[in-house]
């Protein structure tokens, strides 16, 4: 059997794959955070809750409304994204003129309310969601077994990240977004409805989180606390990558997933902390983050 530094190849590749999957979720979530932070300058602490709502809506949709996975994949981001727009329009906009710290506190409070409500109703134990029929089974690659659903998660997450990058960096709408991030007042003076752009951007960022939640439903236990535990790691990823860079958010997300996977192979005890170690290193050497612009 092939060994890599004393670890069987199949185990090594398996962990790497798991790391990459985690990385795909980090990428999707930090991407949404980066998009929201760019235009609203708000650190969206409700992001984990929106991810959790995505997974929960998928689960409840199937349980009570008979909505299948594929429909949920399309419908849930729209519904949860819509909820995000309502939140922006009714709540966040009222404090937009205040210090951005208030936005952070407000979204943190929202996350607690959403989480607490769901814990009250459903408890903290997780429920499982079945893997959709079309994505069951897997591929025997020789050196490892690759479950189809995990391959799908990777492909879907990367496709959405790439699509988002394309829209933001290469289209006219993306140019509005980038310009609005830099100088919203001037964009208004050009005739762009910036408040609407802000609402749609927040909705889109939230929809990305919800999309990640749908992808996660068959993979991880669906519980009200699934978002808050993930969000802390995602914030570390965002700090490492640097706020505001789309591609940076995606690459850092995947990279940190891989590093986590590798650590699991060689020193499992540190797997949960390695990202924070990297964060400390990056903060010491490059405070603006790997892809961030120096202020």
């Amino acid at each position: 059997m092939t060994m890599i530094f004393g670890v069987p190849l199949a185990v090594f590749m398996g962990q790497l794959m798991l790391g990459l999957i985690n990385g795909a979720f980090y990428a999707l979530l930090s991407l949404g955070l980066a998009v929201i932070f760019g235009l609203l300058k708000i650190v969206n602490f409700a992001h984990g809750a929106m991810y959790m709502l995505g997974a929960f809506a998928t689960l409840l949709g199937m349980r009570y409304l008979g909505i299948g996975y594929w429909v949920a994949l399309l419908l849930v981001p729209i519904v949860v994204g819509g909820l995000g727009m309502v939140i922006e329009r009714l709540i966040l906009r009222r404090i937009a003129h205040l210090d951005h710290l208030y936005g952070l506190l407000l979204t943190f409070g929202l996350a607690l309310i959403v989480e607490g409500t769901l814990i009250n109703v459903f408890g903290v134990s997780g429920s499982s969601y079945p893997t959709p029929a079309a994505l069951q089974g897997g591929f025997q690659l020789g050196f490892m077994f690759l479950p189809t659903y995990r391959a799908w998660v990777l492909v879907a997450a990367l496709a959405v990240c790439l699509g988002t990058w394309y829209v933001i960096e290469r289209t006219r709408l993306g140019a509005y977004l980038r310009a609005g991030t830099e100088n919203p007042a001037l964009m208004q003076a050009f005739g762009v409805n910036v408040p609407l752009l802000v609402t749609l951007t927040y909705g889109f960022g939230v929809a990305l989180a919800a999309f990640a939640g749908v992808l996660a439903a068959p993979l991880y236990p669906v519980s009200p606390t699934m978002g808050s535990s993930l969000l802390i790691v995602v914030f570390a990823v965002v700090v490492i990558g640097g706020m505001g860079s789309i591609l940076g958010a995606v690459l850092t997300g995947l990279g940190m997933g891989l590093i986590e996977g590798l650590t699991k192979v060689y020193y499992p005890e540190a797997a949960n902390t390695v990202i924070f170690l990297v964060m400390i290193l990056v903060l010491m050497l490059r405070p603006a983050g790997l892809f961030g612009k120096e202020a």
Binding site: R172, A179, L186, Q188, A189, F190, G191, V192, V194
Partner: protein, 248 residues
């Protein structure tokens, strides 16, 4: 998200009519009262200047017209439309192009993206080819990051950007500030061309020698008010008076 760019407002030229009338305009940034009853008017096709010392309220007057200051009272009529209650993003759609003092070139966009950024507000704007013909430098540097241009090129870009939109009333804030004489001269030639195309222009200028031969009328501001109006014809006889008002 395409709703962010709303439909072009119907708009009719009223020949010989007033393009802009500002009456008893007061503007506030928070608690500070900046404009104290500004009154002036601009006729179609005219080029007027707002002159005055620093802090006289010239830039704030332009910003107030664009609804970019805090609170405003009084009246601002643009081409027959009262705009005081209008949302900021609707005002440009009456056919106004605003070029801010700090130029506002976007660093995250290249030159051509900067040029194409402002939505069309009216038909009849200049095409990209016409703009590149007027500003050849911008064509050569169209793929450069906007803020990597020289100061003069950035100023050209900030002006060119609003010519594409079909705006007929241009509010230009200190466009010659900090630029080399040869660039200032080129900008003067651009203004002459724009005027001959029938554009109405409000020019906030520090450089009076630049503004004097271009303008039809000059408004002198002090302490947030218009204190004097001088027509181009009166200018030679009132030059000393003007110089003392401007403190030059």
């Amino acid at each position: 998200m395409s709703q962010a760019v709303e439909k072009i407002t119907e708009y009719h030229d009223l020949d010989g009519a007033e393009m802009l009338r500002v009456s008893d305009l007061h503007a506030f940034y928070g608690e500070s009262h900046i404009l104290h009853g500004v009154d002036f008017d601009v006729k179609r096709g005219e080029l007027v200047t707002l002159l005055g010392r620093n802090g006289a309220g010239r830039s704030t007057t332009l910003k107030a017209i664009m609804n970019m200051v805090g609170r405003r009272t009084g009246s601002i009529v643009i081409n027959g439309n009262e705009t005081l209650a209008m949302k900021a993003h609707r005002i440009p759609r009456l056919g106004i192009g605003y070029c801010p003092e700090e130029r506002g070139i976007f660093a995250s966009l290249d030159v051509e993206e900067n040029l194409l950024l402002p939505p069309t507000v009216r038909s009849g704007g200049m095409s990209l080819d016409e703009i590149y013909a007027m500003f050849p430098n911008l064509y050569e540097r169209r793929r450069s990051q906007g803020t990597r241009l020289s100061g003069g090129e950035q100023q050209m870009l900030a002006m060119a950007r609003i010519l594409r939109t079909g705006a007929r009333l241009l509010l230009l804030d200190e466009i010659t500030e900090g630029l080399a004489p040869v660039i200032v001269q080129a900008l003067g030639e651009v203004l002459v061309k724009l005027k001959s195309r029938g554009m109405t222009i409000v020019l906030v200028e520090q450089n009076f020698r630049f503004a004097a031969p271009l303008a039809d009328r000059h408004f002198v501001m002090d302490h947030g008010r218009i204190v004097e109006e001088i027509s181009a014809a009166e200018l030679p006889s009132r030059r000393d008076e003007l110089n003392s008002m401007l403190g030059v």
